[in-house]
């Protein structure tokens, strides 16, 4: 059962996008804020100078013989010198009468009554150029009473634009730098965060198939709930697995003993009945009992192997001795079937492993070989330690069905050619499990001259 998980958008990309997007927004904001602020300051500076100039001109106004005289100080215009040589225009009015300067400089805002020393600034378009205009007025007492001297002083904004362009350039460089730095930082932050997830994933992946122990390594606070629920899931899984294994072992054990009893009765009964059909029935019954008892035995074996594989206890053993003992034990069974067991080896092969497991695995392989070998066949067992310890069991039977070689070691899976042969389908599974527990592998193949070969790599 394999579920295809469709990943939604990557967490890393989302995080990067959010951080970099935020940085870009901030950089833009920064750029506009700086530029806006600089524009205000630059404009304020120009306004201040314009205001001072206008004030100094108004200050030079005197009433002379009833007429207003304005003796413009040289400094008034001198202070308006800018690096970009901005143009200057002005107009002086007495009440609404034009006195001096540029009459075409319309000063509409002057019509509005403004208080003394109350400078007003605005930007107008004059002679095709944007100009900053200050308007100011001063009340004087003449022979005819109060009068207002008003001035409008205009200056082009070339220097201001130049300054602003320069500031904009600097602000842009500043903003870009900020953005680049923030992007780098967000890349780093994202990698660090995702790294924690990756580490957890890696440690989950690296685990053996039987390892259901809880994760104990420290993880970031935010990942604790995930790891906790993972641990709890594994604990439950472990519990239910061991429960079912226990159940199977118990059930097999309970079944085996009564089966043995039933078989001995059946055997005794077979001795007493003479009728052919009754004898046939008894024989079929005994075959069924044998099969059941063998299956129960293998289930027990499997449970035992599962347990031992989880708690592998390695000890130094000689594989050749181990297999030899097994061959001796199985020789009577082989002879009953007119088969020969042949052990080949080149001296002792020392290995550190669980002898009971290895013996069990090899016995299952030999059992299989015995089962599928034709009469007068030879089962060859080859133990070698070079380059790594391996035990091969080969027969000269029909061989494995080619298209099923990969699936055979799974539980209760039997080859398509196994009909008529007693078996539970657990033999190869047990051998495979033992090999895996020792960090090895089980390879199934067919020999060129016919017959199956099982290779237990340790």
């Amino acid at each position: 059962m394999k579920v295809d998980l469709h990943g939604s958008r990557s967490l890393r990309n989302r995080l990067m996008l959010a951080l970099i997007g935020g940085a870009a927004t901030l950089a833009l904001l920064l750029f506009f804020a700086i530029r806006n602020y600089a524009a205000q300051i630059a404009q304020h500076t120009q306004d201040t100078i314009l205001g001072a100039s206008a004030t100094s001109i108004l200050d030079a106004a005197v009433v002379w013989n009833g007429a207003v005289e304005v003796d413009i100080p040289y400094a008034s215009f001198s202070m308006l010198t800018t690096p970009m040589d901005d143009r200057v225009f002005y107009a002086i009015y007495q009440n609404d009468t034009f006195l001096s300067g540029y009459p075409e400089l319309a000063i509409a805002p002057i019509a509005a009554p403004i208080g003394d020393r109350d400078n007003r600034f605005q930007t107008i378009r004059h002679q095709g150029q944007d100009m900053r205009v200050v308007t100011a007025s001063r009340t004087m007492i003449g022979q005819d009473g109060r009068m207002q001297v008003r001035i409008a002083l205009a200056q082009t904004q070339d220097a201001l634009s130049g300054t602003l362009a320069q500031i904009s350039r600097n602000a842009a460089i500043f903003g870009t730098g900020f953005f680049a730095l923030a992007a780098l930082l967000s890349f780093w932050a994202t990698s660090t965060t995702i790294g924690q997830l990756k580490r957890l994933t890696h440690s989950v992946t690296r685990r053996g198939p039987q390892d259901l122990s809880p994760f104990k390594k420290p993880v970031p606070l935010e990942m604790l709930p995930l790891v906790r629920s993972l641990n709890s899931l594994m604990a439950r899984l472990d519990h239910s697995l061991s429960q079912s294994e226990d159940f199977i072992a118990e059930a097999a054990h309970r079944v085996r003993t009564p089966l043995a009893t039933v078989r001995s009765y059946a055997e005794a009964t077979l001795q007493r009945v003479d009728k052919k059909e009754n004898r046939d029935a008894m024989r079929a019954m005994m075959r069924a009992i044998d099969e059941s008892s063998r299956a129960a035995g293998q289930l027990l074996d499997h449970a035992m192997i599962t347990f031992r594989a989880d708690h592998l206890e390695r000890q130094d053993i000689d594989l050749v001795g181990l297999v030899d003992e097994l061959v001796l034990r199985l020789t009577p069974i082989a002879e009953m079937k007119d088969l020969t067991l042949q052990l080949k080896s080149e001296g002792a092969v020392h290995y550190s492993g669980d002898p009971i497991l290895i013996q069990n695995a090899v016995r299952n392989l030999i059992d299989n070989a015995l089962k599928y070998s034709p009469a007068d066949g030879v089962v060859t067992i080859h133990v070698s330690g070079d380059p790594r310890p391996k035990i091969s069991v080969c027969d000269n039977g029909k061989g494995f069905p080619k298209d099923e070689v990969g699936a055979l070691p799974t539980r209760f899976k039997r080859g398509s050619n196994s009909e008529g042969t007693i078996g539970s389908g657990l033999g190869l599974t047990i051998a495979m499990d033992v090999a895996t527990a020792h960090g090895g592998n089980l390879q199934l193949s067919n020999q060129e001259k016919g017959g199956a070969c099982a290779l237990l790599l340790l």
Partner: protein, 336 residues
Amino acid sequence: MRFIVALILWALPQSIAAQTWEDQRLFNGGASGQPLRIISSTDTSLFAPIIERYVAQFPDTAVEYLVAGTADTDRIFRANPEAFDVVISSAMDLQFKAANDGLARQLPDISHPSWAQWRQSLFAFTSEPAAIVINRAAFAGHPIPRTRQELIEAMRARPDVFRGRVGTYDVRKSGLGYLFATQDARSSETYWRLMEVMGALDLRLYCCSGEMINDLSDGTIAVAYNVLGSYANARIESEDVIEVIFPSDFPTTMMRTAMVSAKTRRPEAATAFIQHIISLQYSGGRNAFPLPPLAPQINDVEWATIALEPALMTFLDRLKRRRFLAEWQDAVIQIR
């Protein structure tokens, strides 16, 4: 005020009638097409070598050189800006105001130090100090004055020698005279005392440097105040009669400026002419460029050059000018 009215009444028919020029010369007349019209306050003799080199470089262009006084130059140009391509004048203030008023074309391709140009439209190409020029005969046996103060003392000591024999610009008529007078007045009160002393000695008023130097060299006058050093120097080489003194108390230095009319019909030729003057003043030498080239402002205390800045418009203000002229007349024309 009355003088202004008189001046306007005098000037009005002049501008309506066909323009009469102080001098007028056509260079490279053989070239076809419309000539490059230059209106200038500089004598043709000083500018001829410059123009001749220009037409040698651009043989397809004819140049018409028209000379008028500084105030007239400004007035004629303002009345008819599309009739002229290049305007050259020694009255920096009038030229500045014309540029400020948008009558000059901006020439962004011309590279010139920022102190010698304004807005890439007004270009200075000479440095010419105002000088006191004396007739040596009048000072025989007496120390030659080096400052305005010494000149005042010399005139006070021998009023009979100098009565009716001192001259300066009529600032009401001469734009350059007005510029020098206002800059002098700005620098020191000595100017007003000098004017009062000169006024008491029946000061002669001139419209132009040339006439003043002529009168000086033939002994009609003994002292000319605020004469252009360039004009005087042109004479001193041939005659031993006069001496040019650059007053050491506060010399006033003027920069002759040129601009291209915003309404020029020959922008390329006019721009090339400005470029020609500027490069010639750097590299020309005395023969190719008879005018004193731009002096880099090494020592601004000794050679206070009038700066090209908006402040030049100050004394052109109607009220300010009226007030200054009234004061000037009070000082100069007291006796008459």
